[in-house]
Amino acid sequence: MDDHPSFRATARVLLEAEGFDVVGEAADGASALTEAGRLQPEVVLLDVQLPDIDGFDVAARLTGNDNGPVVILVSSRDSSDFGPLVTRSGARGFVPKAELSGDRLQELL
C-alpha cells in the first residue's frame, strides 16, 4: 500500500520476479483497510506516509486481531526517523524502500 503508483508498480514487478503473489494494491489508508479485509493477504507491505490515515495506525488496525496479516512497513525515510513507533505499531519489521527485495522480506517472515 503506497500512494505513489510508480513505487507500487516497481514493487509489484520486483516481488513477482522473486516468487511472491501480489493479490492487490491500495493508494491510501482507508482503502488499504477495506482491501486487506476483502483479499485476506498473508503479508501487507505498508508505506508509513499515506494521504489519510498514517501507516502506523493502519498497521495497528491490521494487526489488531489474531488472524490479521503480517505487516511490513516501508518508507523512503530511515527507521531512525520514527523512533520507537515502528515496534509499537504491531508491524513485523521495517524495510527502507531502497533496500526492498524478496530476500529482505523472507528474512522478516
Binding site: 506516509q49 498514517d54 502506523f56 523512503s76 525515510r77 530511515d78 531512525s80 526517523d81 520514527f82 523512533g83 520507537p84 513507533l85 527502507p96 531502497a98
Partner: protein, 582 residues
Amino acid sequence: MSGLRRALWGVALAAVIAGAAASALVLSSDHTDYAGLGIVIGLVIMASFIGTGLFAWWRRPSNRFGALMTAVGFTFLLSALTASDNSVVFTAGVILSGVYLVVFAHMVLAYPDGRLERRWHAWLLGVGYFLTLFGMVPQLLWGFKEDMQCDGCPESALLVGSNDTLRNVLDAATSLLGIGVVAVVLFILLRRWARATSPQRRALAPVLWSGVVMLVLLASQLGSGAIGSSRLTDALGVAGLIVFASVPWVFLISLVRSRVVRAGAVSELLLALGEAPGTGTLRCRLAEALGDSSLDLVFWLEDKRKWVDYEGHVVELPREGDPVRAWTEVVLEDRRVGAILHDVTLREEPELLRSVAAAAGLAMENERLQAQLRARVEELRTSRARIVEAGTQERRRLERNLHDGAQQRLVALSLTLRLAQGKLRQDPDKADELINGAQEELTLALGELRELARGIHPAILSDRGLGAALEALAGRAPIAVQLAELPERPLPEAIEAAAYFVVAEALTNVVKYAHASQATVSVSQVNGHAVVEIADDGIGGADPGRGSGLRGLADRVSALDGNMQLDSPAGAGTRLRAEIPV
C-alpha cells in the same frame, strides 16, 4: 555636638580673638589715620569671609572651599600688623599683607569643589606666594618709594641703606611678574567658563565673576604701581576692596537664592506632574526643575536587566567618576523604574536631586512602560530581520547541499548506468560491477536526501506530533537522552515546531560541546506557557552568544512572543529553558 561643629566653633572663637587683637593693635598705633573706620571695614570684611566660609564648611565638610574662604578672612587680618609701632612686627606686616590675595586666588581657582583642577595651578599659586612675600622686600631693604612713605611708621627692620635704582628695578620686575600670574589665573577662569555646561556656569557664576573683577583690578593696581601713578593706585585699591568685600555676600546670596528657586521648582514640578502625569514632556519638566537642559531619562527593564532610552534602545549609564555626567536612580514603591542622567555638578545638591527623583517616580513608571513597549517592538523588528536573513541563508545552504550532494551523485549514477547499459552484452561482469557501484552511489544519495529533508521539517512532527518526534530525536542522539515530561495535549503546530528545533539544536550543542554523558528533555505546559527544558550533566560554561544556531532559535522563540534563557555555570551542567505562550 559633633567633632566638626566643635572645631568650627573653635575657629570662630579664634577669629573673634584675632579680630580683637588686630583692633587693639590698630587703636594703639601712632601712625594709623582713621583707625576707627579702618577697624570697622577690616572687621566686616574678615567676619564676612570667615562667617560665610564656616557656614560653607559646615554644610559640605568634604569640600575645602569653605576652609579656603575662612583662610582668606584670617590672612586678610595679617595686614593689621603694619599698624604696629614695633619695627620687626611692622616689617612682618608689610611682608605678609599681600598673602590674602593669593589665598583668594587659590579659593577662586578651587571653586566650587575646593580642589585645584591641575597640578600646575598649585605651582602657579606657589609663584604668587613667592611674589607677595618678596615683592615688598626691595623697599624694605632700600627704603620705601615716595608714594609708599608714611609718617610715623617705624623703620624697616631690614633696612640696609639707600639704592633707588636697584629698588625700582626689582619692584617693577615683581609687579610685572605679579601681573603675569594674575593674567594666567584670569585665563584659567575664563577658559573654565567657556568650557562649562549651563548648570556648571550657574554654579560657577557668583564666585568666578567677582574673582575675575577682583583680579582685573589687582592687575591694574600692580600695573599702575609699576608706572608710578599713585592716585590711580589708590582709586583701584578702594574699588578692589569693595569688590573683594562683596565676594562672600555674592556667594551667600546665590546659595540662598538657588535653594529658594529650586524649592519652588520642585513644588512646580509636583503640581505639573499631578496635572498631566505620563505625558512626553516629563524630560522637559525635570530639566526645568533641575536647571539642566542636558538632562536625559533612561528606563529600567527588569526582565532584561538593562537600561533603555525613550526609543527602547539599550544605553550605558555614565560610570562613577565620570567628569561630566552622573545619574540618579528613580524608585517607585521600592522598585527601580529608571534614572535621571544629569550634569555632574548637580551632585552638589543631593537633597534637590532626591526630591525631584521622588516626584518623578509615577510619571516615570508610565513612560517606562512605553519605553518597554518600544524596546519590544525594536527587538521584534531586529529579530524579524534576522529571521528573514536566516531564511535566505537556509535556502542558500539547502541549494548548495542539494547541488553538491544528491545532485552530483545522481549525475554520476546516470553516467554509470549508461556505461553499464553499453557493457551489458559484451561484458556482463563489468556491467554487473558498474551496477553494484551505482547501487552504492544511490544509497548514499538517498541518505543525503533523507538527512536534508529531516533538517527542513521532520515529517514525524506533523504526522505524529511533538512527543513522537522528540522520541525519535532522543533515539538518534549518541548520548542517553531521557524524556522526562511531554505535554498531554498537542500544542499548536508553530509551537511544537519551535519546541522541536529548540530541543534538536540544544542536543546538537550538548553532543558537540558539553562533554555530557546524558541529557534530560522536558516539555510541559505551565500557566499558559509551553516550557521546554533541556538539561545536561556536562562541563557547563556555555556562552549564550556562541553560534548562530542558538541565536536563530532565540529569534524563532521570540517570534512566538516567548523567551529563552541559558543557565550554564562552569562545572555544573547546562540548562536551556524556552518559554512560549500558548
